[in-house]
Symmetry: C2
Subunit: 123 residues, 2 copies
DNA sequence: CAGCATCCCTCATGATACTG
DNA sequence: CAGTATCATGAGGGATGCTG
């Protein structure tokens, strides 16, 4: 098994489990993108601005090992791959949806450069 | 040079905002702990196993700047401080609760050492 | 197009010590 | 007890190149 933890985790704490399984920087975005069905890596790469194909592939691998996504590889040329959320993966959608909603509700605290400005009703 | 602050953040993506504001390793735990009311740093330190007071203080500072907690410092000796969730901070509780529930539901995928084992080979 | 290996930088965090 | 500065580290992930 490739996925090992050096530090023993606290199994009583669901947040810890969650962070291990969905903690990667891009996993929420990946889950979001795959919400609407099968996705190819190139699609995901285009959709998720700022990520490289290396990280996406890596995180997709982790998610596959964790049982969050399934992978289908077609033996064609050029190759084609498709990823899809498993039921477990889909069960994360509501959480990520909440996160997204919460974030959007507070996006007014940031300026166009993405810097935190706090209350910006000053004019 | 080549490595600049990668963030211009995507304000259209709530997940990004969320990760900026609540992305620290210990912030969910802190929020959880403060759910039941005022908390002193020493309490939080005892409650959150594995964290050092340095990180907790740091993340509490960030959370205060972000408007997630308020801090009350008593000019006593020895000093006393109390942290409390703001309304914004409390609005995160449902999300963290969901994360916790989700994680607990899948904690069976890990063994006692916190290593991922996939299918739980029962008892 | 998909996947992996390599190099190496950055950042958050851990450890420790000091101040008030 | 609370808070901060300093130093060390290691894991994540950005950039690039090769393979089929």
């Amino acid at each position: 098994m490739k996925y090992e933890r050096k530090i023993p985790i606290d199994l009583d704490c669901g947040v810890t489990i969650y962070q291990i399984m969905v903690g990667g920087k891009w996993k929420p975005y990946l889950i979001n993108c795959m919400n609407c069905g099968l996705k190819r890596p190139s699609e995901l790469l285009r959709a998720i601005h700022g990520a490289t194909k290396r990280v996406l592939a890596q995180q997709l691998n982790e998610m596959e090992q964790m049982g969050l996504v399934t992978k289908r590889l077609y033996p064609e040329m050029p190759p084609r791959a498709e990823y899809e959320l498993t039921e477990t993966g889909r069960s994360l959608i509501p959480i990520i949806r909440l996160m997204d909603e919460w974030g959007l509700k507070h996006s007014c605290l940031f300026n166009e450069k993405g810097q935190y400005v706090g209350q910006n009703h000053g004019g």
